[in-house]
């Protein structure tokens, strides 16, 4: 999507929360190089959208695969370890990045 940088774009220019396939190798702290199959972009999204999108994305990847969730909502970030427990996933790491967090979850069997 082309960003023109106008004020209007702030409201309209980008999709809030989407889950694209990526297959990228990421250096996850405490785990090392890990293949991430999917990244969920939840920047700007209000709860419960990040949680519900994660649920959907995890339903579409295979057991043992790793997904990344990119968030800038502190309240949602706080809840992800508990969410992972409920979903039977492993919460691998939450990484603080510029203006966002990246949460890595491995789907359980």
């Amino acid at each position: 999507m082309v960003r023109t940088g106008s004020w209007f774009d702030l409201f309209h220019g980008r999709p809030v929360a989407s889950g694209r396939w990526m297959f990228r190798t990421v250096d996850v702290p405490g785990l090392g190089k890990t293949l991430v199959v999917r990244s969920v972009d939840c920047l700007g999204a209000m709860c419960p959208r990040p949680q519900l999108l994660t649920l959907k994305v995890l339903g579409e990847v295979g057991s043992g695969e790793v997904v990344e969730i990119v968030l800038d909502n502190p309240t949602a970030v706080e809840g992800f370890p508990a969410l992972a427990e409920t979903l039977g996933c492993a919460h691998l790491a939450t990484v603080r990045d510029f203006g966002c967090w990246r949460v890595y979850l491995r789907k359980g069997s």
Binding site: L10, F11, H12, P15, V16, A17, S18, G19, P29, G30, V40, G44, A45, M46, C47, P48, R49, Q51, L52, L53, L55, K56, V57, D72, N73, P74, T75, V77, E78, G79, P81, A82, L83, E85, T86, L87, G88, H91, A93, T94, V95, R96, D97, F98, G99, W101, R102
Partner: protein, 484 residues
């Protein structure tokens, strides 16, 4: 937060060398300077500053614990996660214990809410709204302090919808039965309030005033005895339900996963207790914030109660009159002054005050004209508590590098306005939000708060269904793309 790694951010240097810390300090000093200025004007403004500083502390703790009470009920249905419900129950238990001490010492400022069907209906509308706004009334305040513009829109919507709801008449009046109009007319009220005009006035005078509101100790005629306060109000009305809810949350939401993770096929009682402890401490930030908020909320009542005693007043309005500020008081010379943590009424006053400045006067309503007044926001004591929450949250968010301006999308702005409006309507029908009508009530022995929680849970359940349906529908519309 536990186990958060940092990537690509600078570390080292002194605390003040970080921009966020400096900005946090700036906000903090702004509040200090404002407080000093107010005290220099008149030392009696200390009464208002109690609200400011407790608000600031609430905001800091809410942000620290990411204490989202909307998610307490929503996440049980949306993702089956009990984290926040547990945090909220911890806060209720602590508040109840401190409230008992405050009541025993004679400084309680608490008044029970009228018990009736309106609580369930209002709370359900409120609970439905919070799913779409991403936060309750307090949550929206602290998220606004994190730079979330959606939450700012929610606050605007809550403020104006309440102001409109409590003062609207005309076709709205058809919403209430004639029997309420008759009952309202029978009340001995000044003509200037026109209690038979305006649906909310009729609802208040014709229905709410006919209901009883009492603490459990009052129901059993033991309000004056220590045993009644401790056993009936604190233990029976707050602690016991909290324990039952925590056990239910463990059994339904946490136990299975915990036993699987810990490999316990035949759990003993000790294992179950360890599991409950793991549930409490799953998010230390949230648990700590729950403890802090519970204790502070109780202390707040104590400090305000002690100040009322000191000045020999029942309401801040009397102090305002003594200081020479008589504008915006109710016909009883009162203003809204709960003396404890409360959110929605002062926001309604902001909306009502702005509408009054635009030429729409609502002082003939019971809500503003008889009870709460429409003071200038600069003299609105509980209003400053809400501002304190925003500023406290921004102090915490800035110092933790979590402050970020977040602009709404068209969709989230729509949800914020519609959801916030529903929250405003629901809060007025139920006579408060999850703070004023639940948190502050059950902890002071008023069982009506549990009715509110039940209604809010019901509304959140329906809200989650509708929200999920909306997400699926909008994804399908976009040809399988997730979300919007």
């Amino acid at each position: 937060m536990n186990g958060v790694a940092t990537a690509g951010t600078a570390s080292g240097g002194s605390w003040l060398s970080r921009k966020g810390n400096l900005q946090a300090l700036g906000v903090f000093l702004f509040v200090v300077a404002g407080s000093v200025w107010a005290l220099a004007l008149d030392s009696r403004f200390v009464y208002m500053l109690v609200y400011v500083w407790f608000g600031l502390a609430y905001g800091m703790l809410l942000q620290y614990g990411r204490f989202c009470m909307a998610s307490a009920v929503r996440d049980l249905f949306a993702v089956k996660v009990p984290r926040m419900a547990v945090g909220m129950m911890i806060a209720v238990a602590l508040y109840a214990v401190v409230a008992a001490i405050v009541t025993l010492s004679g400084f309680s400022t608490f008044h029970p809410n009228a018990m009736g069907w309106h609580i369930i209906v209002g709370a359900a509308i409120f609970g439905f709204g919070i799913v779409f706004t991403g936060g309750c009334a307090s949550g929206s305040l602290y998220k606004a302090g994190e730079g979330n513009m959606n939450s700012m829109l929610v606050i605007l919507a809550i403020s104006f919808s309440q102001a409109i709801v409590v003062s609207a008449s005309g076709w709205w009046d058809a919403l209430v039965p004639q029997s309420w109009v008759t009952a309202a007319a029978a009340q001995d009220m000044p003509a200037e309030l026109s209690v038979t005009k305006g649906w909310f006035d009729i609802f208040t005078a014709g229905y709410i005033w006919g209901l009883k509101g009492s603490t459990t100790a009052e129901i059993f005629g033991m309000a004056e005895s220590a045993a009644g306060i401790v056993w009936l109000n604190t233990f029976l009305t707050a602690i016991l339900p909290v324990v039952i809810i925590l056990v239910a949350l463990y059994a339904f939401y946490y136990r299975k996963g915990y036993l699987r993770r810990s490999g316990k096929a035949a759990p003993t009682l000790g294992d179950e207790l360890a599991g409950m402890w793991a549930m409490f401490t799953a998010s230390k930030n949230t648990a700590l914030a729950g403890i802090g908020l519970g204790i502070l909320a109780g202390l707040h009542m104590y400090v305000t109660g002690a100040l009322r005693e000191h000045y020999g007043i029942f309401n801040f309005g009397e102090l305002l009159v003594a200081m020479g500020y008589t504008n915006g008081l109710s016909i009883q010379d009162t203003v809204f002054d709960p003396g404890y943590w409360y959110i929605t009424t002062q926001e309604a006053q902001w909306g009502g005050w702005i509408m009054q400045k635009l030429g729409i006067d609502s002082m003939d309503s019971i809500f503003f004209g008889l009870d709460n007044g429409l003071p200038n926001p600069l003299l609105n004591a509980p209003g400053f508590m809400s501002i304190g929450i925003i500023l406290g949250a921004s102090v915490m968010a800035l110092s933790r590098r979590e402050f970020k301006w977040k602009a709404p999308t068209w969709e989230s702005a729509f949800f914020a306005i519609v959801g916030g409006t529903l929250m405003g309507i629901g809060a007025r029908l139920a006579m408060g939000c999850n703070i004023g009508a639940f948190f502050a009530t059950v902890t002071n022995g008023d069982p009506s708060g549990w009715v509110f929680l039940f209604g809010m849970t019901l509304g959140a359940f329906i809200g989650v269904k509708v929200f999920t349906w909306w997400m699926d529908w909008s994804a399908a519309r976009k040809g399988g793309e997730l979300g919007l």
